[in-house]
Symmetry: C2
Subunit: 116 residues, 2 copies
DNA sequence: GGCTATCATAACGGCTCCGAAATTAAATGT
DNA sequence: ACATTTAATTTCGGAGCCGTTATGATAGCC
């Protein structure tokens, strides 16, 4: 099953959601940070700095710094990989899950009213 | 008619699109710039600095600077309002329309494969 | 043990954005 | 005509993110 969406509906949806995020100013994540956050929560684990950097096509310090920022916001968690202590395993948090839950509700709600 | 979308589909859609934009690195717009751009192209004109600032709940310099940046990218256009020369009327460009057309195609395409 | 490779982070300089306050220009009121 | 109001911009100091390069710590190989 697929989700049918017309071009103008897509742009209106994007405008509604982005506008809502800007006005709300809750966490003020950059596009890269959002991509990292969604990858962590929606892609199968484990997630490492190296893996995320490769996926996003950015350098590793970009990931490290984004994790610093989002870690302070409690949206993600870091811990050392016990089996190879060079690696850092990136994990979810309750706050992060709640944030994305609210975010998805917003998208679903805006989508509902698109072609009304 | 409405667009049915489940929470996990919404987040997967967002991840796909945002990831694509990050990897592509075409214009690298901030969230605020994207909100401004989409408002200009999807909301009924006329658009002014003051109006956009009020809509996004930001100060006017934020709008002025975003228009500087996106003007250099040829995504938007500025001209004085002839009937009240204090106002600046913000308009669309061919490049901006093409950019958003490609962007909407991306969203539509990603949406198509969501629940496959 | 010692060499090399790998992973993440820290340090550095550069760029862009931010909000607040000051400035310029145009319209309006008296 | 002149003071006030309104719109947009410029200026200023500060904060955050960027990529490159250097550093530290762990693992694997001989």
């Amino acid at each position: 099953m697929s989700v049918a969406l017309k071009p103008s509906q897509a742009l209106n949806l994007w405008r509604d959601v982005v506008l809502n995020e800007v006005v709300k100013r809750e966490h003020d994540l950059t596009t890269r940070q959002m991509a990292i956050l969604l990858s962590i929560y929606m892609d199968p684990p484990p997630h490492t700095v190296r893996g995320l950097a490769a996926k996003l096509n950015v350098t590793k310090p970009v990931i490290t710094r984004a994790l610093d920022t989002m870690g302070q916001m409690k949206l993600v968690m870091r811990r050392r990989d016990p089996s190879d202590r060079r690696n850092v395993i990136i994990g979810k948090t309750v706050e992060g899950a709640l944030y994305l839950e609210r975010f998805s509700d917003l998208i679903v709600d805006k989508a509902k009213w698109l072609a009304k």
